[in-house]
């Protein structure tokens, strides 16, 4: 799956405070066997299994690989299903996974993949090329199955499996992403029974048959996702026996759980706050891992929402259709201050669309092209565009009313609110009002186009095709009622031409060159203004996880990698030390709790008896 999180609006899930948290805790207590009720996380440690617990906050959108697009879901799919290829953890070049080899024909229109013969489904059947062919054919023929990854097969002519180890894909046009098809391959014998793919969430019967390093054994929405190690995994069995993603909707609670050793890893949503990272740095047995992020953090502009059939909808402010206005707004955003104050150095200033971590595709504007912070110039641009100040110092639109922009922000993301406050003050100096609409669910106004500006963010894959594709005209929804793959309704002819060219370009250097031109075009359009590339800030317990692979290996992140490397490679710390002290805490807690209950019961009965005696008298 290419987009590791589709639109940041879907990527961050509502955080609903203590009630939900309490419910989660209670549910967990109910789920784990009896003696562990006081210390649920120790349940499996008791029977000798090594459990890796990861605190997450983002809700799963769907466990069906045909529908899922959020980071947490696609990360889980990486663990459940093998893809044709994987990315090398060192430098992210494509490496063999389910396919051991892939070769194009001379005209590059027919690709032949050799499927490995040592991969089996968890129900014992062998994984064959037929499974892969079926998966792709399903996505090509069934609209519902193309929801998440349809962009990969749009260009496919025919997919066949002449033998169990040979997969042949014929293309209509050349496609540069053939070694980076991020599509989970599912078992045909299970999935051909599914009726409606747009409605099937793959979360009813467990364990779910898969062939990845882990097998999904249990899932409860917003409570936990439980996976068991696949001992027959062809690359070798994972070192941990069980992997549990446990929900902490409150990040501070997750950090507290990490301090107590109840969870082994906290990813943060999307990252630990500077204060949390700072406070965890000195703590014994906890390592804070900070890496250049895969995400960009941007200010998206509503370019006038429209559907593929030409129908316009939504109510974006008309003044934003003027490029000078968009440039003026962004010119009045001081990115250095945002990095310094809001991210406190845990981010890099935004330049082009793709983060510097992907150096092949990273592009930055030249000094003359750059919209550097310059409030005076911003005011000048607005004057030129004809939006002048009235008597009250407010700029008025063409309709004669003072301009106030609605900014869509995620109520669950503190950074959105913080940056929003800065924007409010910077833009009010320009004479432009800001109304910060912080919502738990930003999807509805977003899809309806009823916003002016919005905070946006995507994780970028080593192959940037997907994040580029979401700004093409082809990604627009078919009608205003449909949901398209589009991010914020950008549709630009010049950009689209470049997109088609890069997709058909097999020469890596030339392709990178075209991608950079696309980024340049996107920058000039001013509909997608990247403010920062936030770092991944995460923390784990070294007394539970001895070692874990980061990606890239040097200064890389752990959660949300392009691949299953981190959880597959994680080595448990020596069982004795960790289970010892934790076990004893559990025992102590259990004993104290038990004593309290007994004491309470005794007091209660004594009181009752005494009351009874008085009644008798």
């Amino acid at each position: 799956m290419n987009a590791h999180d589709r639109r940041s609006r879907e990527n961050r899930s509502p955080r609903s405070g203590t009630v939900r948290l309490l419910a989660t805790v209670l549910t967990l207590a109910a789920v784990v066997p009896a003696p562990s009720a006081l210390a649920p996380q120790r349940a499996s440690a008791a029977d000798g299994d090594k459990v890796l617990t990861v605190a997450v906050a983002q809700s799963v959108d769907s466990l069906s690989p045909f529908l899922a697009s959020r980071l947490v879901s696609t990360s889980i799919h990486r663990l459940m299903y093998e893809y044709l290829t994987n990315y090398d953890p060192k430098d992210a070049h494509p490496v063999p996974a389910l396919a051991t080899k892939w070769t194009p024909s001379a005209d590059k229109l027919t690709w032949t993949y050799t499927i490995r013969s040592d991969s089996t489904w968890s129900d014992g059947r062998r994984t064959t090329a037929e499974d892969a062919a079926w998966t792709f054919n399903k996505m090509m023929t069934d609209e519902g199955a193309a929801t998440a990854n349809g962009s990969y097969v749009g260009n496919f002519e025919k997919v066949t499996a002449p033998s169990p180890t040979r997969l042949v894909i014929e293309l209509k046009k050349p496609q540069a992403t053939m070694a980076a098809l991020d599509v989970p391959i599912v078992p045909k014998h299970i999935w051909e029974k599914v009726g409606d793919f747009s409605d099937f969430n793959n979360d009813k019967s467990f364990p779910v048959v898969g062939n990845g390093p882990f097998v999904l054994t249990d899932y409860k929405a917003d409570s936990y996702v439980r996976l068991k190690a696949n001992k027959n995994f062809w690359r070798g069995a994972p070192k941990f026996d069980e992997l549990v993603f446990r929900y902490y909707k409150d990040q501070d609670a997750a950090v507290a759980a990490l301090r107590k050793g109840e969870v082994s890893f906290v990813a943060g949503a999307p990252a630990l706050t500077p204060a949390q990272a700072q406070s965890l740095k000195g703590v014994k047995n906890i390592r804070v891992n900070e890496a250049p992020g895969r995400r960009f953090y941007a200010l998206a502009v509503n370019p006038g929402a429209k559907a593929a059939n030409g129908e316009k909808f939504g109510d974006g402010h008309p003044s934003l259709l003027d490029e000078r206005v968009r440039h003026a707004l962004f010119t009045a955003v001081d990115r250095t201050t945002l990095i310094d104050r809001v991210f406190q150095g845990h981010a890099v200033e935004g330049e082009g669309y793709i983060p510097p971590r992907f150096s092949t595709y990273f592009w930055k504007p030249s000094a003359s092209q750059k919209l550097a912070y310059d409030p005076a110039k911003a005011a000048q641009l607005l004057d030129q565009a004809g939006y002048r100040k009235n008597g009250d110092g407010k700029r008025v639109g063409k309709d004669g009313k003072p301009i106030t922009y609605r900014i869509l922000c995620h109520a669950t993301d503190p950074n959105d609110k913080a940056v929003g406050q800065y924007l409010q003050e910077w833009w009010s100096d320009l004479g432009i009002g800001v109304q910060l609409d912080c919502l738990d669910n930003v999807s509805d106004p977003w899809l309806a186009g009823t916003y002016d500006l919005a905070f946006d963010g995507w994780s970028v894959n080593p192959d940037p095709d997907f994040v580029l594709s979401i700004h093409t005209c082809g990604a627009l929804p078919a009608t205003p009622k449909d949901v398209g793959a589009t991010d914020n309704f950008i549709c630009d002819k010049k950009y689209d031409d470049l997109y088609a060219r890069q997709l058909a370009e097999y020469d890596p250097a030339e392709r990178a060159n075209i991608v950079k031109q696309m980024e340049s075009r996107l920058y000039d359009l001013g509909y997608m203004n990247v403010m920062a590339y936030p770092n991944a800030v995460e923390a784990y317990r070294t007394d539970q996880i001895k070692s874990i692979t980061t990606m890239p290996e040097k200064a890389g992140n752990i959660y949300g990698q392009d691949g299953y490397w981190s959880w597959w490679s994680a080595v448990p710390a020596s069982a004795d030390s960790s289970s010892d002290d934790s076990g004893s805490t559990g025992v102590i807690a259990g004993t104290v709790g038990g004593l309290a209950v007994v004491l309470g019961a005794v007091v209660f009965f004594v009181m009752r008896r005494r009351a009874g005696a008085e009644d008798r008298e």
Partner: protein, 309 residues
């Protein structure tokens, strides 16, 4: 302070208007004398005066610039020091200044929400008690419905569907906390309306409006006032709760909003107490002050509560 208390002996024959004024002044004095005997009530009043003073003079002492993020004087999350007695927030703003500035919003919302709640409650209560019959039954069932609904849940639902602004919060608290007042006022209205002088007023041609506004309202007013004081404290708490749950306007500085920001910035797990404790204490103290005043007023007005006089 009730309307039918006998006026003190007038020195000279006075007009009815002047008579009424004298009577009112006398009952106020009597009220104050009785109120003075409640030490807790006085303490509450003193605390309130302090907070009101802080809120009203805030534009002079700290100024609106204290809430500006672009002109924040310090580094983010500084611990308390000479420059910043309570440290700084995540933007580097002075927390003491924000605390004082936040008093304005918290008190304002508390007062407005209580006002709205009491107005709705009094209106429903008086009309229900006055008209009786089907109207009464319907209104009281509606009241019952609001009474059994968990206030916070209803307020959260309202605040979620409406846009995030101060008005929304006021509305959400106001429309969810009126049923108790309505019940109380209705009971008092029934008691007042059964008195003979109401019948006389009616016989003299007093219409519904006259009876309700000239006779019933002045008699339920003390009750409403006592109720209002008590509702303010719960409104302030409700405002803080809603803001803490992230349902407030993030660009407005309030105590609950400060707590919410502290939580989001990770102040709880990193132990930055100066970010969390002061707004928490402020909320608690103001709510306590209003409760103390409310209880004192209540016991002055209702001798049956059995507080020593």
């Amino acid at each position: 302070m009730t309307a039918e208390t006998t006026p003190p002996a007038a020195r000279a024959p006075a007009g009815p208007r002047q008579l009424a004024r004298q009577r009112r002044r006398a009952s106020l004095v009597r009220f104050w004398n009785r109120y003075r005997s409640h030490r807790a009530g006085l303490l509450g009043l003193a605390l309130l005066a302090l907070f009101a003073l802080a809120a009203l003079t805030a534009p002079l002492t700290v100024g609106p610039d204290v809430a500006s993020v672009t002109e924040a004087p310090g580094r983010p999350m500084e611990s308390p020091s000479g420059d910043f007695p309570l440290g700084t927030d995540r933007f580097g703003r002075d927390l003491l200044g924000l605390l004082i500035w936040g008093t304005r919003v918290s008190l304002l919302i508390g007062l407005l929400a209580a006002l709205l709640s009491v107005v709705i409650g009094a209106l429903v209560g008086i009309t229900a008690g006055h008209f009786r019959g089907v109207y009464d039954t319907v209104m009281m069932r509606v009241t019952d419905w609001f009474l059994v609904m968990p206030t916070l849940v209803l307020a959260i639902a309202l605040a979620t569907v409406m846009s995030r602004s101060l008005g929304t919060i006021v509305l959400a608290i106001g429309v969810t906390s009126w049923p108790t007042t309505a019940r109380l006022v209705r009971a008092q209205t029934l008691a007042v309306e059964s008195r003979p002088y109401i019948e006389r007023a009616k016989a003299l041609g007093g219409g519904h409006r006259h009876v309700m506004s000239r006779h019933v309202l002045p008699n339920v007013m003390p009750l409403v006032l006592a109720q209002a004081t008590l509702i303010i404290s719960s409104s302030i708490l409700a405002e803080a709760t809603l803001a803490f749950l992230g349902l407030g306007d993030p660009t407005v500085v309030s105590w609950g909003g400060l707590l919410q920001e502290a939580r989001e910035a990770g102040a709880v797990s990193s132990g930055d107490w100066w970010y969390l404790v002061p707004p928490g204490i402020a909320i608690a103290v103001v709510a306590l002050a209003f409760t103390l005043c409310g209880r004192a007023v209540e016991s002055v007005l209702n001798p049956r509560l059995g507080v020593a006089r």
